[in-house]
């Protein structure tokens, strides 16, 4: 009898918690609790910011070592692919010349001022994502420094992502590799316009809406399109095409793009202070 009463109370507690959760989620969706919820998120981010920064700097070498050990297979594959590429280039004078050009272009890209004279705030990446699903990083600059949600973030090489959360002293950036990220882009040689979608950590971006008949080159540079309504200014380098296939009968070409920014080793970035919607 007593156990049955306890079971009934447990179920009542669960129903109450489910209803409360659904209410909170609904308030968040409708934006009605936005003030309270963003205050909670901002407070949590600002309060734990020093602890997270300290932990990141102390544990960074350990994390790198773990990533090296658990990513050994990937490194071996990458090493093998690079060796094959070197052998291929060494085998032909013309190809060697192409590699030199490629290298020079890569150097130019690294020195390129990716966003002209757009006002910007330089920031340091202070911590990695909390979640196993989100590809986000936290910056040591926030709303007090002029950063707002929606602003693009770039490194010296190209596009990194977009600000999705801001507190007084911190901001959260969703990387272009996040599965929730979508960037309007243009292929520089073929002028095809497409959408680059994130596919997860360490995975190339996929381009949607590329015509099956489009002439897409491997290593072709992909930049932001800057079309009306786009969150990003035009001509920021996003990545280079690593794969372009068209299956028979398909209307779209399957295109993969490797980001030019080294998203696994981000240290310093710039937030472009563009008007946000």
């Amino acid at each position: 009898m007593a156990l049955s009463r306890r079971g009934g109370r447990s179920r009542l507690t669960l129903v109450f918690l489910i209803l409360t959760s659904i209410t909170v989620i609904t308030l968040d969706f409708r934006g009605e609790g936005a003030g309270l919820i963003s205050s909670l998120r901002d407070g949590a981010a600002d309060t734990l910011a020093p602890v997270r920064s300290a932990a990141a700097s102390v544990l960074d070498p350990v994390g790198d070592a773990l990533a090296g050990v658990t990513g050994y297979g990937d490194l071996e594959e990458e090493n093998a692919a690079l060796r094959a590429r070197v052998a291929e280039l060494e085998g032909s004078g013309l190809r060697g010349e192409a590699a030199q050009e490629e290298l020079a272009e890569a150097r130019r890209l690294l020195e390129l001022d990716v966003a002209g004279d757009t006002p910007r705030v330089n920031a340091r990446v202070v911590s990695t994502p909390v979640s196993n699903f989100e590809q986000t990083v936290e910056l040591d600059q926030g709303g007090d420094d002029g950063v707002a949600v929606g602003m693009p973030v770039v490194s010296g090489a190209g596009l990194v992502g977009r600000v999705v959360g801001v507190s007084g002293s911190r901001s959260t950036v969703r990387l272009v590799t996040d599965p929730a990220s979508a960037v309007g882009v243009r292929l520089t040689r073929s002028s095809e316009v497409a959408v680059a979608s994130g596919e997860g950590p360490g995975v190339a971006l996929s381009l949607d809406f590329v015509d099956a008949e489009a002439d897409v080159d491997i290593l072709e540079l992909v930049v932001t399109d800057g079309l009306d309504g786009s969150a990003f200014p035009p001509d920021i380098p996003v990545g280079r095409v690593t794969m372009a296939e068209a299956a028979p009968g398909e209307l779209q070409r399957r295109v993969e793009v490797l980001p030019v920014a080294d998203l696994a080793q981000l240290r310093l970035v710039s937030v472009l202070l563009t008007p946000t919607r």
Partner: protein
């Protein structure tokens, strides 16, 4: 000392581990989910009722650091903790492997539940081919941490280990 004085520092410690320490120590790109583990441990040590309540609180704390809808983790964690608490009252608490196995299954299930609930709420990106690997890895990491989590939760919630079979 009572639960009211012991629980806050435990929650604070769990938040620090969850947001600052374990995200830096990823195995195959996956970090342990300490707040989910805390909810599961509460369900195992204190039953469905208190487990669900602590799971709800731990989930709200987790939501404070995520871009997913606020309350999504709270919903997932409280459901998992309730299920673990209900299941825990039907098993013998002998041997170390049963709580560890429970932590593995519940953690992996919690990750999948979070993703599926997110999908229902329009967060399509949460469900991908990577989900199974993330769920399995979180399960393994949380299972390894579970003996310590159970001891801490038992201390924080001022409970005593059940020494024999519990009646349904």
């Amino acid at each position: 000392m009572t639960t009211a004085t012991r629980l806050p520092p435990v929650l604070l410690g769990a938040v620090v581990l969850h947001t600052a320490v374990f995200p830096q120590l990823r195995i195959f790109g996956v970090a342990a989910d300490v707040l989910l583990l805390l909810a599961i441990a509460a369900g195992l040590t204190s039953g469905a009722d208190r487990g669900a309540a602590l799971g709800f609180g731990a989930g709200l704390l987790a939501d404070s650091f995520l871009q997913t809808p606020f309350g999504l983790s709270a919903l997932a964690y409280s459901l998992v903790a309730y299920a673990v608490g209900a299941f825990g009252s039907t098993i013998l608490h002998t041997g170390r492997w049963i709580p560890m196995l429970t932590a593995f299954v519940a953690s992996a299930g919690g990750v999948v539940l979070f993703a599926v609930l997110g999908l229902v709420l329009g967060q399509e990106h949460l469900v991908s081919l990577r989900l199974a690997a993330v769920a399995a890895m979180v399960g393994v990491l949380n299972a390894l941490l579970s003996p310590l989590a159970l001891r801490i939760t038992r201390w924080a919630l001022v409970t005593h280990p059940v020494s024999g079979p519990v009646l349904r």
